[in-house]
């Protein structure tokens, strides 16, 4: 049977690996190539690498670094950050990357989603949707590159990108990012009820039980950052990933 995927999500900034807290306070956690090598030997299901600096400072994706990542990844690799055109995506696929992840460039223009899906297939297009609660605890679509909320309704946006051809939606809860407090299960169940495409839940995962809860709420896959790079109450940097047997037992229906 197909098992739900459990995916380390790594954040890049100036070529280094960082972990954020509620999309803020980036903490340096090491060299990305080294981390990827460790995840490789741990036989992770899949890996996501998101450059959190590229769109914000309007930089091109760092192609030579991405090429190095792809050369080390003997599992599927998804890259996100700074992709604005079909040509950039094409260049990234040629380096040996399986999936691209977009947000900034498609918030106001979902035609790019369609163009990418038509050219490379839906399975290679992941759209990242960040959601942050406002002061009335209402979930709002969030634009990570500017740090501001976006006027579109978050659920409408998810439906729009899936209709346009997105193969997967990466749903990230800004309020849970780095907190290790568990995923926002309400967001996950609301979003997964609206779409047929697989939903990857990100934000807040701090235990195996949190992974299981996210799956039970409708996520097809679960991604996590802090859970795989921090250890203990003082957040010492330690790259970990559960044993396959552990995940198999956890995720059996």
């Amino acid at each position: 049977m197909l098992r739900h995927r459990v995916i380390p999500a790594l954040l890049l900034k100036n070529g280094g690996l960082y972990k954020t807290f509620k999309f803020d306070k980036p903490k340096y956690v090491g060299d990305p190539i080294n981390a990827i090598r460790i995840f490789n030997t741990k036989q992770v299901d899949e890996l996501m690498v998101i450059d959190i600096d590229a769109s914000r400072s309007q930089k091109e994706p760092n192609y030579s670094l991405i090429e190095q990542f792809a050369g080390e990844c003997f599992m599927p690799l998804c890259y996100g950050g700074g992709i604005k055109t079909v040509e950039q995506a094409s260049r990234i696929f040629k380096l040996g990357v399986e999936k691209v992840c977009l947000q900034t460039a498609v918030l106001d223009n979902t035609k790019l989603v369609k163009d990418l899906a038509d050219r490379f297939g839906s399975q290679s297009v992941v759209i990242s949707v960040d959601v942050k609660k406002d002061w009335l605890q209402r979930p709002k679509l969030y634009k990570a590159s500017t740090g501001q909320s976006h006027s579109k309704n978050w659920l409408d946006f998810i439906k729009e990108v899936v209709d346009a051809g997105a193969g997967e939606v990466l749903l990230n809860s800004v309020d849970r990012d780095g907190t290790l407090q568990g995923a926002d299960l309400n967001l996950i169940s609301q979003a997964s009820a609206e779409i047929s495409a697989p939903l990857i839940a990100l934000g807040g995962i701090g235990s195996l039980k949190d992974i299981k809860d996210a799956i039970n709420s409708g996520a097809s896959a679960v991604a996590a950052g802090a859970f795989f790079v921090f250890h203990g109450p003082h957040r010492a940097v330690l790259i970990t990933y559960p044993e396959y047997k552990e995940l198999e037992k956890l995720l059996k229906d």
């Binding site: 098992r3 490789n40 599992m75 599927p76 040996g96 297939g121 399975q123 047929s196």
Partner: protein
């Protein structure tokens, strides 16, 4: 090791680099064939592929790959491994398109169907276990249960059950690996399946030319 030199046709729809990375990792050598002529000296071929069936068959035909592939594979019996869409080309055709396939293996591709009673996500995306029918093929024997990474929306229905090497379960039992003489095909991605993929590609490298 002459056996370990693999030619990969340079098609726009392939994840050629990932396959090349993995072949090098397991000790093989990769030659990217830029034109059909470059392929004519191949002792072993891998045909990767990601994308749509008709688009791929059009590219194979328009750039003149089909004749040279037919000659190498059917007459000279050069071992070939098709991966994902690359394997799907070996069949007679697909529901995804209208063009005929290479027709080296009998059968056709069908789209996954999600029913109310048995809802499944499409595409079939993620890690799945294999049920191996033919042990003598290139599927490795390992201590751990074999698992491979799949991404596809169409699956092959073999016309000749003897060609079926392994299945995986997604809604129903679907074709995961096939072999007919020197023609090997896998629906999953060994180049993205860790040690399980490495072992499989190693077995393909050691197939006698």
């Amino acid at each position: 090791m002459e056996n370990a030199v693999v030619h990969i046709p340079n098609l726009s729809l392939g994840n050629t680099q990932s396959v090349a990375n993995m072949i090098k990792r397991v000790g093989g050598e990769v030659i990217i064939a830029m034109t059909p002529e470059d392929l004519s000296s191949a002792k072993k071929i891998i045909l990767p592929g990601v994308g749509a069936f008709d688009e791929g068959m059009n590219e194979l035909r328009d750039q003149g790959w089909i004749d040279v592939l037919n000659k190498l594979v059917l007459e000279k019996k050069v071992p070939i491994l098709g991966i994902c869409l690359g394997m799907q080309f070996f069949f007679e055709g697909s529901e995804e398109g209208e063009l005929p396939g290479l027709s080296w293996i009998s059968g056709r591709l069908k789209r996954f169907v999600s029913t109310h009673e048995d809802p499944i996500k499409i595409p079939h995306m993620g890690w799945n276990a294999l049920n191996v029918y033919r042990r003598e093929s290139i599927i490795p024997e390992m201590e751990e249960e074999l698992r491979y990474y799949f991404v596809h929306s169409y699956h092959a229905i073999c016309g000749d059950v003897d060609d079926l090497v392994a299945t995986a379960h997604h809604g129903s039992d679907i074709t995961a690996a096939v072999q007919r003489n020197n023609i090997y095909g896998v629906q999953f991605h060994p180049e993205k399946s860790h040690t399980f993929g490495m072992a499989l590609l190693k077995n393909f490298l050691s197939v006698k030319c």
